[in-house]
């Protein structure tokens, strides 16, 4: 429960951009950011998933699963953001826009960003991508298969990653190639 609250707060603070911390400001941020709604529902689903071994809360879990299934389906159909519970996403996750986002069977650490039309992971793979912290994944990027992406790496819009990526690298193109090994992405991470 504490990890759920901490992760949700970290997600919210990614969207607030260090301003407007009143309760109305937070509510407004949830209302206008489709990505934030999707991430919060994903966190709720992970909370339910982590509590399935605790027998006394099973009646509440049943209600929770129904609510989760309905809202997640609406978000998947309405916004096209599909965050599978098989993905392990670290706190402070940022989704820039909506549409065509699919994150399945992978491990993302803290403070990652993804854009629209991004696919991370692959359902057919046994071991999905392992992505470090502070990684910026641009729009239309694809990260497939059992690859490792280092910390502070930057994947440019439209890039396709099929090999391991070192830390602080900038990946461009299809198939992706390393353009720079010392690229600072602190400016573009919100």
């Amino acid at each position: 429960m504490t990890s759920f609250l901490r992760a949700s707060r970290a997600d919210l603070h990614r969207y607030l951009e260090r301003k407007a911390t009143s309760a109305w400001g937070k509510l407004w941020a949830i209302l206008v950011n489709q990505g934030l709604q999707a991430v919060l529902i994903y966190r709720f689903g992970r909370l339910l998933d982590s509590k399935k071994k605790v027998v006394p809360v099973w009646p509440f879990l049943a209600i929770g699963w129904i609510a989760y299934a309905v809202i997640a389906a609406v978000i998947r159909r309405g916004y096209g953001i599909s965050l599978s519970l098989s993905a392990d996403i670290g706190e402070g996750f940022y989704i820039g826009h909506f549409g065509g986002i699919e994150i399945v069977n992978c491990r993302l650490r803290e403070h990652c960003s993804v854009g629209q039309q991004t696919i991370v992971g692959c359902a057919a793979q046994i071991d999905g991508p392992q992505i470090g912290h502070n990684v910026w994944i641009g729009a239309h990027a694809k990260v497939f298969g059992p690859v490792k992406v280092g910390n502070h790496a930057t994947i440019a819009p439209g890039a396709r990653v099929t090999k391991d990526v070192p830390s602080n690298a900038l990946i461009v193109g299809d198939p992706g190639r390393i353009v720079s090994r010392r690229y600072d992405n602190s400016r573009i991470l919100p």
């Binding site: 309405g78 916004y79 096209g80 909506f98 549409g99 039309q117 239309h140 819009p157 193109g173 400016r187």
Partner: protein, 205 residues
């Protein structure tokens, strides 16, 4: 605003009903085309911003604000598209009905066709949005970003990732995008909604 929307409607009718259609079928297009809905709401939003800057909060602008507060989220879910309100869109533009458009260029010229799953916007490094010329054909799955200028009559082939300026009547392709041809007439691409492109003919040149 109305004359531009009428031009859009004419282009949509020409593309959706190449053999002509009855008045009823054309009127139904107003409700059945998500791309037209997005265009109408974007034009209203643009008009609203202009009016609010000029007149401030009047009865008209307050009414438009309420209308947009409900219409924009609805259009977002129906069309799955988000077009920035600051964009200046000329009359007679086609946005794909399949949606997944996240576009916010500075300007879009008339006669431009934009297919589905296209992203046009600012570069994350802080550069401004691009400018799209007239009679441009943009295929599906394209990304155009950065402070660039896409010339008139350009064809952007499907799956292109573009961050450079393109001269008039050129063809761009690839990821990262490069100019593969410099004199190309894209009229046949803009005539219908199919993107029947012979990639071999571009690769050989």
């Amino acid at each position: 605003m109305w004359s531009e929307l009428r031009a859009d409607f004419k282009l949509y009718c020409a593309l959706r009903f190449p053999d002509g259609a009855s008045v009823i079928r054309r009127a139904l297009l107003l409700f059945r085309s998500p791309g037209l809905l997005v265009l109408a709401i974007q034009r209203t939003h643009h008009y609203f911003f202009d009016r609010r800057l000029r007149d401030g909060w009047t009865l008209e602008t307050i009414g438009l604000k309420f209308l947009l507060a409900f219409a924009r989220p609805l259009a977002l879910i129906i069309a799955k598209s988000d077009v920035a309100a600051s964009t200046e869109i000329a009359g007679g533009v086609y946005l794909s009905d399949r949606g997944h458009l996240i576009i916010g260029p500075r300007r879009i010229g008339s006669g431009t066709l934009i297919h589905d799953r296209v992203t046009i916007g600012v570069s994350a490094g802080g550069e401004g949005p691009p400018m799209i010329g007239e009679n441009v054909w943009i295929g599906p799955d394209c990304v155009i970003y950065g402070d660039s200028r896409i010339g008139n009559g350009v064809a952007v082939l499907p799956g292109t990732v573009l961050s450079i300026s393109v001269p008039d009547n050129a063809v761009v392709s690839g990821n990262p995008g490069v100019i593969v041809r410099r004199d190309f007439d894209n009229t046949y691409l803009r005539r219908n909604l199919a993107c029947n492109i012979d990639r071999e003919s571009f690769a050989s040149r």
